[in-house]
């Protein structure tokens, strides 16, 4: 969690400049990332998960009217894997495990993309304001950030989700409220650091406007650690989200892995392992994949912590 937040600012080579230069640098990063076999494994898992999510309406018949709800067959409860029509079996409530896993990947993708998107945006705005304007604004914003950081994240998300009531939207909201803080801190730290660099000074000397400098030089160069963190968070958000769902904060019948594990939890003691094992494994693989890729990215982007 705050592992990254604790890092001193990371110094990286400037990525601003003509598009060609940026592309070349990007290409170089990709090549380096791909050199690590473990990272490649992570990438493969991610690609598979994404494909599964994207093809969900094609490989399953979507449940009407809301495909994110598990279809239930009340005449086929607790069917083991291999049952015709239910290749991975059914839950105690007749939910098709395979459908839950496939649409659960969509749910996870939605969850992580929305939360990461929203939090990076908010974090960037707040962090930029604080880091770039400095002074009183910075002082104030950082106190707010400190307050948010004072509450352990799962507890915070749990409390928010609980108060808003069980629903998937509320889980997204809760996680967004919790996660933006990290990014604000990272961005601020980076900006504070980069602000002092020569090339910013030189840009200022040339007479660029403040905003221009920010958009052209400062921001692009702040994004390296954000990228690493965001990749890691793509995994951890699903993990935390599933935990909230498991505790019972997702909406009823949602096709979500945590919900499935919780639905299958009861049966596991009597050998009905499938309903919780498969989705649990999916959560694990999802988090693992993003951790591996995030790790690999960090190795490449953040030479200071080489070979972590």
């Amino acid at each position: 969690m705050a592992e990254v937040a604790q890092h001193p600012p990371v110094v990286t080579t400037p990525v601003s400049g003509p598009l060609a230069v940026r592309l070349r640098r990007l290409g170089e990063i990709v090549r380096q990332v791909l050199r690590n076999p473990v990272t490649v494994i992570g990438l493969v898992i991610i690609v598979l998960m994404f494909t599964m999510a994207l093809l969900a309406p094609v490989i399953t018949t979507p449940n009407e009217p809301n495909p994110y709800q598990m279809p239930r067959d009340w005449s086929a409860l607790n069917e083991p894997p291999g049952t015709p029509g239910h290749p991975l079996g059914t839950t105690a409530h007749g939910g098709d495990v395979l459908y839950g896993i496939i649409w659960g990947s969509r749910t996870s993708l939605r969850l992580s993309l929305i939360v990461v998107g929203v939090t990076v945006t908010i974090g960037t705005i707040v962090g930029s304001l604080a880091g770039y304007l400095g002074g009183k604004v910075d002082e104030f914003l950082m106190r707010v950030v400190d307050i948010f950081l004072a509450i352990p994240e799962l507890i915070f998300a749990l409390a928010i989700a609980a108060m808003l009531g069980p629903s998937f939207t509320n889980i997204i909201l809760a996680l967004a409220v919790v996660y933006w803080v990290k990014y604000a801190r990272i961005i601020r730290g980076q900006i504070m650091h980069i602000k002092q660099n020569d090339y910013v000074d030189s840009a200022r000397v040339i007479g660029d406007s403040k905003f221009h400098i920010y958009a052209k030089d400062v921001l692009p160069n702040s994004f390296t650690p954000v990228m690493v963190q965001a990749t890691m968070d793509m995994g951890s958000i699903v993990l935390v989200g599933a935990t909230l769902s498991f505790i019972g904060l997702a909406e009823a019948g949602l096709a979500e892995w945590g919900v499935l594990v919780s639905e299958g939890q009861v049966g596991i003691s009597t050998g009905r392992w499938w309903a919780s094992t498969f989705p649990g494994l999916m959560i694990f693989l999802w988090a693992l994949a993003f951790n591996l890729v995030g790790d690999g990215l960090r190795d490449v982007l953040d030479p200071r912590t080489e070979s972590r």
């Binding site: 009340w74 629903s167 009823a252 003691s269």
Partner: protein, 581 residues
């Protein structure tokens, strides 16, 4: 506030550690650290708590000699005047307190409790006008605190509940019907009703709120204050039951000890009620032999069926059908924004009938209830007085439903309506079944299932008006149809008012008249005739979707002997005094 406020134990840890570090003296020091730091509650006060045994190892008789029941939630209170019907505290109250008369182990028959006879008109203990009931009190009964039971205690207990009139409690049950309580002599108690009641004995005298508490114990610990909770009684029951509460480790367990001076057949074995909210742990515990018994619902049967050493008992139906309510008494726009219906929607009997015809009863009963349940006619649960198998029961009939929806003019445009349910239980499942059924009939019919935390559900549920058009829960476990009719069917009754049933019924006055008449009719046959007239009217003009009724289930180790269960007893419908192992 807790009268015996204790220092947080972790702060004491520091002191102890410091003491230990400084004076590394003889081993006996631990005993001086004051009250054993143990159970937050012990019946007899500080002294009775398990004493510190120096060696410690002899102390445990092992759980082999204790009957362990796994409960899924903890009581909030064990004070009869404070407990809500159906709440966990009733489990304890049933064991440690007694009522004047009790529901016997077999079926709905009443048996004498602290009164030596069940009053009837025939034995003269009920007056001809049906207003005065006389209870001869049993002699030689002692409370757990050693005082002797008199009619004074009985009057005190009833009056106490009515005076305190706690909003969370069930005092209204007494107050609504009782006009006067009298002590005739030491061993005779008399009560006068405000109107004749067919259900007084079944529904009121046997209820938890009518439990008899020790006057001396109450007076010694705060007495009776109107509208205020008695902190002592909340956690320290002083009754006459076969068990006394020896310890209540909050969040962990209740310990019930055999009461040696019990007037009747004494209980056989000490009981511990472990609080294990997680279903899986309860099931695994029972399978592992760690628990002797647990309450189960039908969905858990597959987990326990065939398990070694586990027996599943299934008996009568519970008297608490799971029903889905139609609310029409809400402000336009006060529903969740996704909802597209207005207050008049459910006023249309065609739609209510159509909903009743769409619900997948078979799926719910065979699936969610695992076959352990049955359908219920409007509104007479099987096993209760007034039930007849001849009454019409709704079954799924999609064609008929479609016709009705078309007739009501909602088929083409469809609708969205939210149904609230407590999160994570059968009610949520019933809501899911409704949603699936409706979506299968017509994808334009969207039922949104909103699962909510208990407190939020309760808050929404107790709001006036209720801000949702539909909700799912079970009915309260009434022991008499009159209570059920008044609460759920009567246009001016509890839910009748909340839901606006007067506007929903085609002929509200006819229904109200029949219910009122049956409620004061002391002759059972005459009463049944009235209900027979009522049943088809309720079928034609349904106020609920009755999803189904669960079978009373229980799972226990096969070593348990003397097992009996009666759904008319409060959850988990058992009396431990009958058991042994």
């Amino acid at each position: 506030m807790d009268t015996r406020r204790r220092t947080p134990q972790w702060s004491r840890l520091l002191v102890v550690v410091a003491l230990l570090a400084v004076a590394c003296t003889s081993g006996g020091t631990t005993e001086t650290t004051g009250e054993d730091g143990e159970a937050p509650t012990t019946t007899g006060g500080e002294g009775e708590a398990p004493a510190t045994t120096e060696g410690g190892d002899e102390g445990g008789e092992g759980s082999g000699d204790v009957f362990v029941h796994a409960a899924d939630d903890e009581a909030t209170t064990v004070d009869p005047a404070q407990v809500e019907p159906g709440e966990g505290g009733e489990t304890i109250i049933t064991q440690v307190y007694e009522r004047l008369i009790e529901v016997g182990p077999d079926g709905p028959d009443l048996v004498p409790g602290l009164a030596t006879e069940v009053p009837t008109i025939d034995n003269g203990l009920i007056s001809e006008d049906g207003l005065t009931y006389t209870f001869p009190i049993r002699e030689g009964v002692v409370f757990h605190d050693g005082t002797e039971l008199t009619a004074e205690d009985v009057k005190y207990s009833w009056d106490r509940a009515m005076t305190m009139d706690l909003p969370e409690g069930n005092a209204g049950l007494l107050a609504d019907i009782v006009a006067e309580t009298n002590v005739v002599d030491d061993l005779t108690f008399e009560v006068t009703l405000s109107e004749p009641s067919a259900s007084f004995l079944n529904a009121v005298v046997t209820a938890s709120v009518a439990s008899i508490v020790s006057q001396d114990a109450v007076e010694a610990n705060g007495g009776v204050v109107a509208g205020e909770v008695n902190e002592f009684l909340t956690a320290n029951p002083v009754g006459t039951g076969a068990y006394e509460l020896t310890a209540w480790n909050r969040g962990e367990n209740f310990q019930l000890g055999v009461f040696e001076d019990y007037w009747g057949t004494p209980a056989n074995i000490d009981v511990r009620i472990d609080i294990a909210p997680d279903t899986d742990t309860r099931i695994l515990g029972l399978r592992a032999g760690e628990y002797d018994m647990m309450e189960i619902d039908p969905s858990l049967v597959p987990d326990l069926e065939g398990a070694e050493g586990v027996e599943i008992y299934s008996g009568e139906f519970l008297l608490e059908p799971i029903h889905i309510g139609f609310n029409t008494r809400f402000e336009e726009g006060s529903l969740p924004p996704e909802d597209t219906i207005g207050p008049d929607f459910f006023q249309d009997p065609l739609i209510r009938r159509a909903f009743n015809l769409t619900f997948d009863y078979e799926g719910f009963i065979a699936g969610a209830l695992g076959g352990m349940g049955g359908t219920v006619p409007h509104y007479f649960p099987q096993g209760m007085l007034g039930y007849s198998e001849d009454y019409p029961v709704y079954e799924q009939d999609l064609a008929a439903a479609q016709a009705l929806f078309e007739e009501a003019g909602v088929w083409d445009e469809g609708f969205t309506v939210s149904v609230i349910a407590e999160e994570g239980n059968l009610f949520e499942v019933a809501a899911l079944v409704l949603r699936d059924s409706m979506a299968a009939l017509n994808p334009a019919f969207e039922i949104r299932v909103l699962a909510q935390a208990e407190a939020q559900f309760d808050e929404a549920h107790a709001s006036d008006p209720v801000p949702y058009a539909m909700w799912v829960k079970n009915s309260d476990p009434f022991a008499d149809p009159d209570a059920l009719m008044n609460a759920y069917i009567h246009p001016d009754g509890e839910w009748g008012t909340v839901h606006g049933m007067r506007e929903m019924y085609q002929d509200p006055d006819a229904i109200a008249g029949l219910i009122d008449e049956a409620g004061t009719e002391l002759d059972t046959d005459a009463r049944l005739a009235l209900y027979e007239e009522l049943a088809p009217m309720l079928y034609d003009d349904p106020m609920w979707i009755i999803a189904g009724n669960e079978t009373a289930l229980n799972a226990h180790r096969d070593t348990v002997t003397g097992f009996v269960m009666n759904p008319l007893w409060p959850r988990p419908s058992v009396k431990f005094a009958f058991y042994d192992k």
